[in-house]
């Protein structure tokens, strides 16, 4: 049923309808509203059976999720920013052990300098952790992606991160259709773990693997991600059939066909980008948008297909690899190595990405006036004073 609720609340209610059996929580902005809401649902008995564990750190949160998942429970947690980095070691462990944990990342910048506002520095820093990464464009998609995430995770025995922009989505109140229990039950079967700690059938999980087998283990992990490239769109199609709306999948082309310029982006900024592009198209500019819903595994073929007709590509990034530039750009280059690509670093640490700025930027882009690496709305006087 469609109701006016906060994004975090919608995610919490959706996660509850996925019937997690263990939820671990450690507070960090802007994720906290999600686990607060879940704690109430568990305490009231609305979400049962479920154990809600208040842990002592994010490292502990992911570790509890690892133990719960290995014991055959559907496990969920949420984090952001420093918290995601604090659990980094456990992230690699969860994917290495093939545990289908689902986690919300309420995207937020990483310090220093400390900053609680939105960008993608946190999840981008964990792009090689072996987790599937899905990015929500809207709160509706954020809710929907969680239902799909459990399906994808459990089918592949891989953990999935659902990334939603902190504050911009998590704290925004809007009309959201929270999937009903009946719909979710029809879509998401109970968790049947592929490996489980069971006294009746003792199993060793997490043995030490040496040079003789480690490469093969890693190769198989890669193969699993390649399989995810087939599973993710199939699950999105099935979702559309059950829920009568389109969410998820690998990529979302918007007016890409025949467009000379295509802007590639992830997350909530896509809304502003599309509005800007609509205006430019109305003025006769040949421009389209490619939204990346799936960032890991990177959908090389889908990106290549969507960018086939483009003469130039602009990648709008919400994170920066200092000393290198755009993180997503490097992957897009892998899809279309022969096309001119410019990187735009935008919206770091919560700086608004406005239609006005985007309009100026894209006007320069279509006229080939953009530097290969551009910082949107950079206060040049400030940095030049420091650099002089």
């Amino acid at each position: 049923m469609r109701s006016q609720i906060e994004g975090s609340r919608a995610v919490a209610e959706t996660v509850a309808r996925c019937r997690p059996e263990v939820v671990c929580a450690y507070p960090i902005s802007p994720q906290t509203h999600i686990v607060e809401a879940l704690s109430v649902l568990v305490a009231s008995g609305e979400l049962a059976p479920c154990e809600f564990v208040n842990v002592e750190s994010e490292f502990g949160a992911m570790s509890v999720a690892i133990g719960a998942s290995a014991a055959g429970a559907r496990a969920y947690t949420a984090t952001a920013s420093q918290g995601l980095l604090y659990m980094a070691e456990a992230l690699y462990n969860a994917s290495g052990l093939g545990l289908p944990i689902v986690m919300t990342v309420a995207n937020r910048a990483i310090g220093a300098p400390i900053n609680i506002w939105n960008d993608h520095s946190d999840s981008m820093s964990q792009r090689d952790s072996g987790w599937i990464q899905l990015y929500a464009e809207t709160n509706q998609e954020a809710a929907d992606l969680h239902v799909q995430a459990f399906r994808i995770a459990e089918e592949l025995s891989l953990p999935v991160m659902v990334c939603m922009d902190g504050f911009v989505l998590t704290h925004a109140v809007e009309g959201i259709d929270v999937p009903s229990q009946e719909q979710v039950d029809a879509f998401l079967p109970p968790f049947g773990p592929q490996q489980v700690l069971d006294p009746d059938d003792p199993m060793t999980i997490g043995a030490m693997v040496g040079p003789d087998a480690f490469t093969e283990v890693r190769y198989l992990a890669h193969a699993k991600h390649l399989r995810a490239l087939e599973v993710i769109p199939r699950v999105a199609d099935e979702f559309a059939t059950t829920f009568w709306r389109s969410s998820g999948g690998l990529v979302r082309p918007y007016g890409c066909l025949g467009a000379d310029t295509v802007v590639v982006a992830l997350g909530s900024v896509l809304g502003t980008v599309k509005d800007t592009v609509d205006e430019l198209r109305a003025e006769g500019v040949s421009i389209g948008v490619l939204g990346l819903t799936t960032f890991r595994p990177f959908p090389y073929d889908a990106v290549r297909a969507a960018l086939r007709g483009a003469r130039r590509v602009v990648v709008l990034e919400r994170a920066l690899a200092a000393g290198m530039g755009g993180i997503v750009t490097a992957d897009v280059c892998g899809s279309v190595p022969d096309k001119p690509i410019t990187t735009v670093i935008a919206g770091l640490g919560g700086r608004p990405v406005t239609k006005k700025s985007l309009r100026g930027l894209l006007t320069d882009a279509v006229a080939d006036r953009l530097e290969p690496l551009t910082f949107l709305d950079l206060k040049h006087d400030v940095v030049e004073r420091e650099l002089s």
Partner: protein, 329 residues
Amino acid sequence: MPVQRIKFYQTGSFAVGNRLLDPDQRSVQADTERTNSLTMGHRACQGCGEALGARYVLDAVMRATGNHAVTVNATGCLEVFSTPFPESSWRVPWLHSLFGNAPAVATGVAAALKAKGRTDVRVVGQGGDGGTVDIGLGCLSGMFERNDDVLYVCYDNGGYMNTGVQRSGATPHGAVTTTTPAGNSFRQGKSLPLIAMAHRIPYVATATVADLRDLEYKATRAMEFHGARYLHVLVPCPLGWRTASSETIQIARLATETGSFPVFEAVDGEVTDVTRIRRLRPVEDYLRPQGRFAHLFGDTPRGDVISSIQAEADRNIRTFGLVETTEVS
């Protein structure tokens, strides 16, 4: 093949490995039906105290739970020597995740079992002293504070032995490690049993591999409680302590007989029982056989360090009442 019955001759004696006791009084290890949780073929060093301790603890836990226990292991010797892929020496469900998170992973397992209504299955977390008192302390303290239904066992050999004998927070005063070449500088190391007791958890106990019957008793007793429980086992390491592999039990006994390692039980944060020292010895008797303390008895004897270690042992004796009279000469 069925176990054969043997003609009755004599019972009621602790001799010959207490096999002459009535079956229900015998040790877990005397039982041919024991789980053998950590079975043969593992790669531990000869005389490894940790391998011995872990087998006794887990076999006792398995008997106490009717073979319904799950084990979570921290990174360390115990994990490395028992599971070189594709082999495993474990005959219990066993999960290794990371160095510093075994208590939290054990919490997760316990939470999953609770959610699934599997109250018949119990959870044991285990690790060495580095994984417990240093890198895992945050997760362990959280597990204690929440009173999660987990028995956590620390096998304390006083250092990071798996990585080549470096100092840990449990390394005793004066001990040489590869990162304290002149001898560790401060007191007896972090006392995790006391830290555990400060959390007021239902059960805390210490034990050594010198008294395996006592170790079995404490592992069994721990399973009578629900909530967070902590068992701290002193396990000599021939490699790190520079002792002969045949001396493991002897050295562990000297640790208790000198007051260096108090053996006790505590319920709800209060000491309820201590193992009294029958023949109190000076700490020198414990230190001298160990190569890691050899520098204290070298060309420049370090009487000051030995006195300081003795003072710590005396403090243990006073605090825990380890001898019948509280007066110490």
